[in-house]
Symmetry: C2
Subunit: 191 residues, 2 copies
C-alpha cells in the first residue's frame, strides 16, 4: 500500500538489529486518519469472508483493530498479556515469546468471547518472527473458531513469520512488506 510505504519512509526509524520504529504514527503516537485508510484496505481485502469478529493482542494492536472493525461493523476482542499470574479456568491461554522484550508472556482470552461459530479476522501492527500471530491462532483454534485470515500493517518479509503462517494455509495480507533494512536507515519494500 503506497500511502503506508511512503509514511514508513518518511517517519520510520531504523535501529541496528533490524528494529523498525514507527512510533510517530502507529504504536505510540497514532495517526488515526492513516488507520482509517488501512481499515478501508483491510475491508477491501476481506469484505467477502463473512468476518464477524476482529481479534488482536494488546497493546498496540487495539487501536488499529478498533478502527478496522468500523468498516466490518463487528466487535473487537483483544487478547491480554499476563506475566506470572494465575490463569483462571474460564480463559484460553498460550505462551508467546517476545523478542522485543526478551521474555515469554502468557496470553489469554476469555472463553466467553471466542466461539465455534466465529469467523475471525486477526489484525496486528507487525509480523516478524510470527510469535504473537501464532499465539493468536492457537487461541482461536482452542475455541474451535474459523480463522478468515490475518491483516498485518507491516511485515518484515526477511524474517520467518510470514512464511511460517502462510505455510499453515492461513491467508496473510500485509499492507507493507519490508524486504530489507540497513543499519544506516535504508528501507526497501517487496514488489
Amino acid at each position: 500500500m503506497k500511502l503506508l510505504e511512503e509514511r514508513i519512509l518518511k517517519d520510520g526509524k531504523v535501529f541496528p538489529g533490524n528494529v523498525l520504529k514507527v512510533d510517530r504514527f502507529l504504536n505510540h503516537q497514532v495517526d488515526v486518519a492513516l488507520l482509517n485508510e488501512l481499515g478501508k484496505e483491510f475491508y477491501r481485502l476481506f469484505k467477502d469472508c463473512g468476518v464477524n469478529k476482529i481479534f488482536t493482542i494488546e497493546a498496540s494492536g487495539i487501536g488499529i483493530a478498533c478502527i478496522v472493525a468500523q468498516y466490518f461493523n463487528v466487535p473487537v476482542v483483544f487478547a491480554k498479556k499476563s506475566l506470572g499470574k494465575n490463569i483462571s479456568a474460564d480463559v484460553y491461554s498460550t505462551q508467546v515469546q517476545s523478542y522485543t522484550h526478551g521474555r515469554v508472556y502468557d496470553v489469554i482470552v476469555s472463553q466467553e468471547f471466542l466461539n465455534k461459530e466465529d469467523k475471525i479476522l486477526i489484525i496486528d501492527d507487525f509480523l516478524a518472527q510470527g510469535c504473537a500471530l501464532q499465539g493468536l491462532i492457537s487461541l482461536i483454534e482452542d475455541a474451535g473458531a474459523e480463522i478468515v485470515g490475518a491483516g498485518i500493517v507491516i511485515e518484515k518479509a526477511f524474517q520467518s513469520g510470514g512464511e511460517l503462517i502462510r505455510g499453515k494455509g492461513i491467508r496473510v495480507e500485509s499492507l507493507a512488506r519490508v524486504a530489507s533494512m540497513t543499519d544506516d536507515g535504508q528501507i526497501t519494500f517487496c514488489d
Copy 2:
C-alpha cells in the same frame, strides 16, 4: 449518558471489593459501535476547547481514544507501562500504582509526542482512585502542555479519584458515574 448506563446494567458484572467488570463491551471485547456513541458525546462536551491531541494509557484506553480522536480529527498518543526496565533519557516518566494488579508501574511517553503548544484531552476507560489519571496529568505537566480536561467512560464516584482531580481545577467529564455497587450486583448511578 443513558445508553452507557443501560449497557453497564445489562452487561456489567459486579464482583466483591467494588470490582466492576465491563469486559463484554469495553475492555476485552469491545463494542466499537458503542465507542462511536461515546466519541460523539466527548466531542459534544469538548469540541470548543481547541483539542489538538488525545492522550491515554495502554492498554484498554487505546481503542476508546482512537475512536474518540476521529471526531476531533487529531492524533492519539498513548503512554506506555514499563516494569523494571531502564528509562531512556528522551521520555517523560512517572510512577503509577495499580490497585487492580497490585503493583507500581513506570509510565512513560516519548518527549517527542507531547509539546508545550499542545492542548490535550485525556481519555480513559475508568476513574476510581485516580492513580492512572494523575500519572497522565503529571506527564503532560512535565511537557508543559495544556490539559483541556479528562473524558472518562466510567467513574466510580464513591471512590476518591474524581474529587481529587477536580480539586486540582481539572475538568473531568464522566459519561457514567457509579454511585454505589453491592456485592449482590446492584449498581446505582449518580443523578
